[in-house]
């Protein structure tokens, strides 16, 4: 026996519109998800880079604070540019990694197209360590006799810090 009762159903137009809307939504959602993931990664990268730079600047500040003094009473810190790189040279004391003895060392921070590196020259030898390999531009602006401002710029990111000598 065939049930002859008529069931209300979607019309062909409704089904087609629904399929089209669903397809459109899937495409939109897909774009949104991909975009969100990319934005999320970009934000994470930027945040991580910001923290990386802040940590590096804190490290540089610690080096400057522990630098030896000049007869003027200020810290022994020299800034100069060489091969498009900013060099910050600091004379300080340290403890030898080899024999744990006290030693005098010259620390040179380099900022430029190769990123940021910290170079140590002491009786133990010469060591270079890259703390960031992202290309950047760095400038030093003197503010008064014993204060300078270091500005780091790269890909729309700018960070600056004041250092007291």
């Amino acid at each position: 026996m065939i049930n002859s009762r008529k069931l209300t159903a979607f019309t062909l137009i409704e089904v087609l519109i629904s399929i089209a809307l669903t397809g459109l939504l899937i495409v939109l959602l897909n774009n949104q998800i991909t975009g969100s993931l990319k934005t999320d990664q970009k934000i994470k990268d930027k945040m991580e880079y910001k923290i990386e730079i802040e940590t590096i600047l804190a490290h540089l500040e610690a080096d400057i604070q522990t630098a030896s003094n000049l007869p003027s009473g200020y810290k022994s810190v020299v800034n100069f540019y060489l091969k498009d790189q900013l060099h910050i040279s600091i004379k300080k004391f340290g403890i030898s990694a080899i024999d744990q003895d006290l030693l005098g060392a010259e620390i040179t921070w380099k900022f430029g197209n190769l990123g940021i590196s910290r170079n140590i020259k002491s009786k133990d030898g010469k060591f270079e360590r890259y703390l960031s390999k992202k290309e950047l531009q760095a400038n030093v602006i003197p503010i008064g006799i014993n204060i300078f401002k270091l500005i780091i710029k790269c890909d729309g990111f700018t960070k600056s810090k004041l250092f007291k000598l």
Partner: protein, 274 residues
């Protein structure tokens, strides 16, 4: 009746989209907070170390230090040590010159203390570039500027100091080694002179000059005596801090013109945090 229900059905993708956006914002917010919390703990540690350093620095101004079992403190008198500021003089044109007889004293001191008389030339070549030595510049700073190995620097610490010229050599507190180098006399005469200064036999510059001319009639030490003083008053001292027998700080303090002790130069090799 079915038509409105069908319309509401299209809200589901919109709701999912909203959830997605909210979750993205929440994830980023959480990451941001987490990273800032990590930084906060790092900054707290740095502040703790700074606070510890400040507390240790205060010890240089205390006469009676209560010692803890793991810490020890030692005050050193530096007023009887040769001041490197004596080796230069500035003329009316603000030009800096080396004082030859003071350079000879420095040569004798670097030779007797560290076996390095050539170091005196290096030191004078460096100091001639500066018209004035300001407070805050220590001997270790100078020797580090000259890239002198620290084992030699440590030998020189009990023999020379560097301060503004107003900090004269206190002959009453000077060692026999310093007297020998300063007046270019032998060990037995330096012993005698030290004894005479401490018991008051030679209480002033004239009597010291007389003592030296008795030893060598061709010698006069009057110009040298301008940089000296005979007093029991300290104007420069150091405090060495140790933790479990290991030196971690050297605090250098001076007496200023107003008669109060002020920080000259503090060296912290490391800071115990417990």
């Amino acid at each position: 009746m079915n038509a409105p229900q069908r319309k509401e059905g299209f809200l589901l993708p919109l709701a999912i989209l909203c959830i997605l956006v909210v979750s993205m914002v929440a994830i980023n917010g959480f990451g941001f907070i987490q990273q800032n919390i990590n930084q906060l703990s790092y900054k707290k540690d740095a502040l703790n170390i700074q606070e510890q350093k400040k507390q240790f620095s205060e010890l240089a101004f205390e006469n009676d230090i209560v010692e803890k079992s793991s810490y020890s403190f030692q005050h050193l008198n530096l007023s009887g040590i040769y001041n490197l500021a004596f080796i230069t003089r500035t003329d009316f044109d603000n030009e800096v010159h080396i004082v030859p007889e003071q350079l000879e004293i420095l040569k004798r001191l670097t030779e007797s203390c560290a076996g390095q008389s050539d170091l005196a030339i290096q030191i004078s070549d460096y100091l001639i570039q500066y018209q004035e030595i300001k407070r805050g510049f220590g001997l270790i700073d100078l020797l580090n500027q000259l890239s002198v190995p620290l084992n030699i620097s440590i030998k020189l610490l009990p023999c020379i100091r560097i301060l503004p010229k107003s900090y004269k050599l206190n002959l009453n507190l000077a060692s026999e080694k310093t007297l020998m180098a300063y007046f270019n006399i032998n060990n037995s005469n330096a012993k005698k002179l030290s004894q005479y200064i401490s018991d008051g036999t030679t209480p002033n510059h004239d009597s010291i000059n007389l003592f030296i001319t008795k030893i060598n009639s061709e010698k006069t030490v009057i110009p040298k005596l301008r940089n000296t003083v005979i007093s029991s008053q300290l104007d420069h001292k150091a405090t060495v801090l140790e933790y479990k027998g290991e030196t971690f700080a050297y605090l250098d303090t001076t007496l200023d013109k107003e008669g109060s002790w002020v920080e000259n130069r503090n060296f912290f090799l490391w800071v115990p945090v417990d």
